[in-house]
Amino acid sequence: MNPDLMQAITSGLLLGFIYSLVAVGLTLIWGVMDIVNFAHGDFLMLGMYTSYVLYTFFGIDPLFSIPVAGALLFVVGVVTYRTIIRRILDGPMLIQIFSTFGLMIFLRYVIFAVFKPDYRSIQKTLLSGTFRIFGVYVGIPELVAAAGALVTTGIIFWIMNYTKTGAAITATAENREAAQLMGIDPDRIFSLSWGIGGAAAGIAGALLANFFYIFPEVGGVFGLTAFVVVCLGGFGSIHGAFVAGILVGLVESLGGYVAPPEYKHIFVYSIFIFVLLVRPRGLFGVT
């Protein structure tokens, strides 16, 4: 096979795992309460800056910042729910959209004001270098990030499918009233979902910080891609988001291979539009 094509498939696959993780967090929140978190990409951005700050000021390798970013963004998610989302849960749709939009702009430009718009990166980490296998170059940070994303997605999948709390989240998503009849407090479940969603984005950000440029608007790219993934996988479907994340990673990478790289996002958005119009519930969505 053409080595360039192999290379494109490999990097698409590796990126796809990260997309899956970001999207899993987004789809969880959407599935449970029908709210789109437009600030999701910026949660990821905060995860990246967490790594950056810990590295620059305390010399902590980004590998060890991953749990810190996860915990921090869990808190950010919960606080977002308690201060904003809870108040607009039954509000008009326009207001629901805009409250998280406001949060997105706020977070993005607070970071912008503090760290300036510069592109930053973390150099000389524990994970650096590349190796070559079957004529394909694989970056070690990319590989570790993909593995980390896979593990984290797996943990979320396990929580959702094999724990009582996960069942309570699914139950609340499906029927809030019936969940209440079981003695489940929906408010607590919502709060928790935002926490898990935030943590997923935070961990993804910290994983990306090992090799990706860090800048205030980085969340925009990942946030929009996460929407595409969620939509393709089916709103609210965790395993859908997982599969769709990998697909979108591949499409983006292969799109950049067959056409000029500037157009690669067009492919991604075209899938998005196509899926919305033809099969709005996505590949694995439940109606």
């Binding site: 409250s99 406001g102 430009y109 004001a113 067009i266 998005f272 119009l277």
Partner: protein
């Protein structure tokens, strides 16, 4: 059938007081550049009116028909690029370009809107984001339309026919004022015609509207058409006023957001909400940019973000809602 029968004009809306009020407002706007003779305040009013105009345009679809679009920058960009490209390549007058751009945007809006209208709520909003981004990427990468470096309008003779007045801001001010008034009158009349009733009915309870014989897809398309048409006019105006356009300035998602934000701040679906919203937000962002954001640090946008959150949580009916409550 007589024409007046087509619109419902209530007596209280046409009394002497509201007439004087409106004329007074128009007079103040006309006199404004003679009181404030510096470019900055004149530029400020032009921007306020431009965004009030764009807010009105968005309101036809978002406020009346209840379809939340987050991709209106694509119509703005289409207007700006159509007139500019027609002029640069074929020497077509920007006024003709304005009409062409508006019409093109209207047609595009129907082509994209008709299949999208079956999507509800968040889904519709998201597909409009996707459309907007596709336009953004395309114009950024196609060299025939200037690509990422954008397009400059050459310096021309200052005349109405050329839609170019150099540093003299007064004509621009009057042009955008008349655009704004035109859009306001259109909404005023639309709202009081069968179309307006139908749009509000669709907005409120689509199933019930259909049970009363309302072809909802058709009427949403009508709203989208007018909405896109006016937005594109704003785009042409912007291109002629700033004389430089590039994808980030006319196709950016943030522009779409800003338009909606102005409407939300002012009051969704109200006649003067967009003007009130623009009159508050545009000066606020200009002043914070000048006094806080000298180094491009985006303080203005932090305030933007906070404002949106606060309004969403505490004052979802916007400033017009506040004013009404006072009454």
């Amino acid at each position: 059938m007589n024409l007046t029968g087509l619109f419902l004009i209530r007596k209280e809306e046409l009394n002497l007081r509201s007439l004087l009020f409106t004329l007074g407002g128009v007079f103040l706007a006309l006199a404004y550049p003679f009181v404030f003779r510096k470019p900055f305040p004149q530029d400020l009013l032009i921007k306020v009116l431009l965004f009030a105009f764009l807010g009105n345009a968005w309101n036809i679809l978002g406020g009346l028909a209840g379809q939340v679009s987050l991709g209106h920058a694509m119509f703005f960009g289409l207007g700006a690029y159509t007139s500019t490209l027609l002029f640069l390549n074929f020497g077509v007058s920007p006024w003709v370009g304005l009409v062409a751009g508006a019409f093109l945007a209207g047609v595009v809006s129907i082509i994209l809107g008709y299949p999208s209208f079956k999507l509800k709520g968040h889904y519709f909003a998201m597909i409009t984001i996707a459309f907007g981004e596709v336009f953004h990427i395309l114009f950024r990468n196609v060299d025939a339309v200037g690509g990422a470096s954008g397009l400059f309008l050459p310096i021309l003779d200052e005349s109405f026919g050329n839609f170019y007045f150099g540093v003299n801001k007064i004509p621009y001010l009057y042009i955008i004022l008349s655009f704004y008034l035109l859009s306001t009158l259109t909404i005023f009349l639309l709202d009081r015609s069968k179309v307006g009733f139908y749009l509000r009915a669709i907005n409120s309870e689509e199933d019930a509207a259909r049970s009363l014989g309302v072809n909802s897809a058709l009427y949403k398309s009508v709203a989208m058409f007018f909405s896109a048409l006016f937005t594109a006019m704003g785009g042409t105006f912007y291109a002629q006023y700033v004389t430089f356009i590039d994808p980030p300035s006319v196709y950016h998602l943030m522009l779409s957001i800003q338009i909606v934000l102005i409407v939300i701040l002012g009051g969704v679906g109200t006649l003067f909400g967009p003007l009130v919203g623009a009159a508050v937000l545009i000066p606020l962002s200009e002043f914070t940019r000048i006094y806080l954001g000298g180094t491009g640090r985006g303080y203005d946008l932090i305030i933007y973000g906070l404002l949106i959150i606060v309004f969403a949580v505490y004052q979802p009916t916007g400033l017009m809602g506040l004013i009404r409550r006072r009454k």
